[in-house]
């Protein structure tokens, strides 16, 4: 009461004192500049400067939106040219992909099959290893072990994929050929295996985040019932973190589908409609690389075909990313 009373009287007295000044200001503008201007002018300058800066910062932030729209626009625009010559039915149902041959066929299925096969091999490696690693990091590892292990995983993420391509082609493939002598030099198996190791850190870190978000009280409840660490991890923490773990898998699929250099180097460049990982086959990304390496004239059908392939790739990864985020957000258990 008293505070507001004092406040009101203060405001009143200030207004009263300012009144003559304000009258002068409204009657003769020239007086503003001479009497109260330096301060006001400075404030005005600051205000304008602040707004300009905010606008510039906003433009920078908008570049993210611009990039997304540019990607979609470019892919759609060039694909539109492609689909003028090629029917959608042929594109999605054709079993041959030979856009650069005399006898051209435009069925995307072989490339999609190659992409899915390498991704599945990669997941077969990364899902078990990544999940076990995540459980270990979150439930078993001491603070010190975690402090050492996590940076190493991060370093592994930072290794350029072209180096993994070399590794797959000239180290893993010869090794596998000792076990299966019939394995061709370019095969999806070794590319997939190496890609799997590449995405282990990714699954491990996302799944570990989900597990560590499970409240301590649930673990304590489980321990209090006499459960061991292993039982707690398997029966309490993992079920509680399922949504996060599944999201990690889905995001990993998206990563595997978009991976380029390992498959371009080691899986071969021949479109091949097969799900057998011991054969060589081109993926969508490998096809784009292969075409871009040659010198294709702008606006030719071959040039447009890499944008159509890119559009399919973009749609696949975007779909997986969206599903992954929805799973993580929507089905997150609330405790």
């Amino acid at each position: 009461m008293t505070a507001s009373f004092i406040g009101n009287t203060l405001i009143k007295s200030i207004t009263l004192k300012l009144k003559p000044l304000m009258d002068i200001a409204t009657n003769s503008p020239s007086l503003i500049t001479t009497t109260i201007s330096p301060r006001l002018a400075k404030n005005l300058r600051r205000d304008i400067k602040g707004r300009v800066i905010e606008f510039i910062l906003m433009l920078a932030a908008l570049s993210a939106v611009f990039t997304t729209f540019a990607i979609v626009a470019i892919l759609l625009y060039e694909s539109f040219g492609f689909f003028k010559t090629v029917s959608l039915v042929e594109f999605f149902t054709g079993k041959e992909w030979t856009p650069l041959f005399e006898d051209a066929h435009y069925g995307i299925m072989p490339l999609v099959a190659g992409t899915l096969t390498t991704s599945m091999v990669a997941l077969a490696v990364a899902v078990p290893i990544g999940t076990i690693g995540a459980i270990y990091l979150s439930e078993f590892a001491s603070h010190k072990t975690r402090e050492i292990t996590k940076p190493i995983l991060e370093l592994l993420v930072g290794v350029p994929t072209i180096a993994f391509g070399y590794f797959a082609l000239l180290f893993v493939t010869p090794l596998l050929q000792k076990i299966y002598p019939d394995l061709p030099g370019f095969n999806m198996l070794s590319a997939g295996l190496v890609m799997g190791v590449m995405i282990v850190p990714y699954i491990a870190s996302v799944a570990e985040d989900a597990m560590r978000a499970v409240p301590m009280s649930m673990r304590e409840g489980s321990y209090a019932m006499g459960a061991t660490r292993f039982q707690t991890a398997l029966r309490v923490v993992t079920p509680a973190a399922t949504s996060g773990i599944v999201a990690a898998y889905i995001l990993a699929i998206s990563r595997a589908v978009g991976e380029t250099m390992v498959v371009a180097v080691a899986a071969g460049q021949q479109p091949n409609l097969t799900f057998n990982p011991t054969e060589g086959a081109a993926t969508i990304t490998a096809y784009i690389v292969q075409v871009a390496m040659g010198d294709l004239p702008h606006a030719s059908i071959g040039y447009q075909s890499i944008f159509a392939a890119g559009l399919v790739l973009f749609a696949m990864t975007l779909g997986f990313n969206i599903i992954g985020h929805i799973v993580r957000k929507k089905y997150r258990e609330q405790y």
Partner: protein, 317 residues
């Protein structure tokens, strides 16, 4: 009496033994799983070590100074990396100048300025979406937009801008995380002595989050150095046996921007080029290049991780 207690005692004892064996079994399971977990994680480390050792052993004959001062050549023995490492350096300059100002500005806007409305949500969704877009798609964007749309050609400028866009989400996210770590009290103190919003942001928020931002920038740049797919996609896989014009000249104004539009090659492209040849001699060059790229990226990432560790240790608000 004796007869009735003995069986009971025995059953208690046998139960106790059963419980004990169960506990022992469970503890053993714990240890078994812990070792499996450690092995699973070590597998990642083992791969990294094997990969690096393999590259170093394969590329060993090429580790000498002439490898860095020779141009690529048709003959594997005399082929070198000169145009590739110069190209990488110049592309990185463009990438740095694009991604860092834009990424930091965008991060500051989203953390400090953006109102909570659909517009800010739109920007945020786009940033997190862009982080998941495969790098080769950025290559297609660059091919359609920069190479043909804006007619920049297959130049250093195109490559730098492409990689700049590619690492933009990394810089934005790390800037936001660094800025978020600064307590509100710091901002309030600055406001209390009459600072404007921009003064608060530029003199305090940015200053105190420099380390965190730098960490993100280093990680982003190391990603850009090793990135191959987008640069192949813009069509830069060519035989380059010359250097771009020097950025610094001896006549005023001492700066020359012709290099921006020069054609180029970079380290990972040169490696891919050698790797895709059938002759084994070129694979040796590829291995040596790969070892160098990995060394550079490991050093950069290591610095970033060390920096982050130090910041976390030293700064207690």
């Amino acid at each position: 009496m004796q007869a009735s207690t003995t069986p009971a005692k025995a059953s208690v004892l046998s139960n106790l033994n059963a419980v004990r064996t169960m506990i022992r079994r469970h503890k053993r399971n714990d240890i078994i799983f812990a070792s499996i977990g450690l092995i699973a994680l070590m597998l990642a480390l083992l791969t990294l070590v094997t990969l690096f050792v393999d590259l170093v052993l394969d590329g060993y004959p090429k580790f000498n100074l002439t490898f860095f001062s020779d141009f690529p050549s048709r003959r594997a023995g005399s082929a070198g990396l000169l145009s590739a490492w110069v190209g990488s350096l110049l592309v990185m300059i463009v990438t740095f100048l694009t991604a860092v100002p834009m990424g930091v500005a965008a991060g500051l806007y989203l953390e400090e300025y953006a109102p909570k409305n659909w517009f800010s949500d739109l920007i945020e969704i786009n940033v997190s979406n862009l982080a998941g877009v495969p790098s080769i798609i950025y290559g297609l964007l660059a091919l359609g937009l920069f190479v043909y749309g804006l007619d920049l050609g297959q130049s250093i400028l195109t490559a730098g801008l492409t990689l700049g866009l590619l690492i933009l989400p990394i810089v934005i996210v790390s800037t936001r995380e660094a800025v978020r770590g600064i307590p509100v009290a710091i901002r309030e103190a600055a406001y209390a002595v009459g600072a404007t919003k921009w003064q608060v942001v530029s003199d305090h928020v940015v200053k105190y989050s420099q380390g965190g931002i730098l960490t993100g920038v280093i990680i982003g740049m190391s990603r850009a150095i090793g990135e191959t797919a987008p640069i192949i996609t813009i069509g830069a896989l060519t035989f380059i046996a010359f250097l771009p014009p020097s950025p610094i000249t001896d006549v005023a104004p001492y700066l020359n921007f012709e290099w921006l539009s020069a054609s180029f090659t970079v380290l990972p492209i040169q490696m891919f080029n050698w790797l895709s040849r059938p002759e084994h001699a070129f694979h040796i060059n590829a291995a040596a290049t790969g070892a160098i790229i990995i060394l550079v990226t490991l050093l950069m990432n290591g610095t970033a991780i060390w920096l982050r560790y130090k910041i976390r240790k030293n700064i207690k608000w």
